[in-house]
Symmetry: C4
Subunit: 208 residues, 4 copies
């Protein structure tokens, strides 16, 4: 149960920072990706020893495929993550009540490519820094994971908004930053990216 | 005594950087949260091995509730922190003498919510990265703690000013950045957030 | 084979982030160097335990000269890196299809000096933090390497564009950010900088 | 001899990045402090195991007073640092030849206070993270030291220019960013700040 509470808390703060920093006025402007990558970093460091610090159903999928998360836990992880995202999104809507939020109107093909590739990057980093035998006991895993999100946000923020996380995709849809009709693209691309990363991890870590 | 000197120094530099970076002209503009989170990080790394590197009465409350700080030390920690904040605030007023400082006029309910939630985040991170058995000996604790303040400042700087620290609340009131009539909101929200974090830490670290 | 897949992936993401963040509109503006240094950092942390995380033929040259990479592997490393750079560049051209890209028109002498000196810095850092006996087992190697690229990009981005990596030089030429007629300057300066760093590493680590 | 070569290299790059990032056009604008703090970080990580990574006569003074540097080495450290600063400054003047550089005209009393206090902070951090018994073997020392310079530059860049290092003070004077008639203020304040930090370190680390 501790794991699910931590997954709820971490995903809650991830979406809270996304909403507060991305929505203007009162957001973080060009520094929003730094703030967003950082909240992921600190929540991974804070909760990693309890739940593994996924905060992302695509990460949970990839970690399960890699054999470091039990099948029976997977749905509870994902439910906790989505509930955290929903709770934060409602709070953002309350706190940012005065803002005029306009959903982006992206090119769907580009959204798919961008989300697929950078979810791959995120989950590939997670699996290598947090589950590989040769990197056990390192102190950089949270920095690497959080800052992968940061660099992704600077790279594809203007293409897809950079969810690279199904719970984030649901949250930003609820906040009005992304259209409901585009949600499926994120979900498919993010889970596919996570699964692909897990496969490539297994190939390139063939000694495990 | 060494502990209280270090708590004084760390909180002094925290408030000094806040004042110098937030007050314009001559401040750090959009980079102020980075500078502020960083001074907390470096002071935690510099003083952590002596005093634990709290620099925040809400952290001291949370650490005491978690059983990692003796009751008799708590008032001395808090006095040292407030004295450091006061000293730095006076120096800021001297160095920034030419600036026109206007106190923010925030929505009190939102200040309370923002300060409560992000003080919770800060103290939750502190307890997990700096006092949990499973994270003992790590090298990331200062990065995680300092950068939680950074991401909080980008997220709620426009809502509450982001004190998430009673000593900071007192210091920014003295500098004129926040109204004396609002000080109680910060104090209540910050101590409540710290206490709540300590309770959630105990629940989610039930094996300790 | 695992090594070359990882070198391909890492260099692919390095060039992908460079293209997406540097080319406007939709780039990362003043934060591009942070995003670029960070993708190198996270890919070094993700792939370091498999391939060493070079992602740069000048690094491979320096590591080989220092005796930490076998001669027979060197050409495969470099081919994998260049292929990764080419693949990413094509994807950038597709995703940024609407952008008007204008190649810089730099002073060749200054390009040579800037690229030589900062490739030296990058490879000198790599050799000391990732191959020296006295720094074995540290958790900062990725941060040091990635952020050397970041600080280089802030320093000489306006002089040479800051490739400090032959694979990057080829990629930015393909994207149209640099002129084909200038490519040789990058290649000579980058390999020379890497070789020089390896020599200075040996002199200053005379106990190895 | 290896130590002095490394001190030359590290201080050379520190001044090179300062000049290239601070002098406009072609500088790093608001990101200059990040770039400057980062070059110190990476050079500390690269050279720390050889020379200790001082790159600053005030640090050398403080480390010598704390008993971690031999008296006979001190002048060679300082000469190597100043030579590195001079070499970089000449290169900056060459590369930035087209720039109109105007020396700042600061209030001397404020320069003295700012330089004294933040040199104290830098040397206090250095002594605690890189020479204290209780922090031996950590991976954060370079991050803490480099980013202390970064936060100092955001805080007092507009007051003193933020040298907090006699070699930097000499270099920025040579580049024309600071007046020769003000050099003594930096030298006195920086050495005094370093000495003060060493004294406070000894008081607060009374168990060593």
């Amino acid at each position: 149960m501790n794991k699910y509470i931590v997954e709820f808390i971490g995903t809650f703060f991830l979406l809270l920072v996304i909403g507060l920093c991305v929505i203007e006025p009162g957001g973080a402007g060009a520094m929003a990706p730094l703030a967003i990558g950082t909240i992921l970093m600190v929540m991974v460091y804070a909760g990693g020893h309890i739940s593994g610090g996924h905060y992302n159903p695509a990460v949970t999928l990839g970690v399960w495929m890699r054999g470091k998360c039990e099948a029976k836990e997977v749905p509870f992880y994902m439910v906790a993550q989505v509930l955290g995202a929903l709770a934060a999104s409602l709070l953002v809507v309350y706190l940012k009540g005065d803002s005029l939020i306009v959903a982006a109107n992206p090119k769907i093909a580009n959204v798919f490519i961008a989300e697929l590739i950078f979810t791959f990057a995120l989950v590939f980093v997670v699996l290598n820094v947090a589950t590989a035998k040769k990197t056990t006991g390192n102190s950089y895993y949270g920095l690497a994971i959080g800052f992968t999100l940061m660099t992704a946000a600077y790279s594809i923020g203007s293409i897809s908004g950079c969810a690279i996380n199904p719970a984030v995709a649901i949250g930003i849809t609820l906040m009005g930053l992304s259209k409901l009709s585009n949600l499926w693209v994120f979900l498919v691309a993010n889970f596919a990216g996570g699964a692909l990363a897990s496969m490539v991890f297994k190939i390139t870590n063939s000694d495990e």
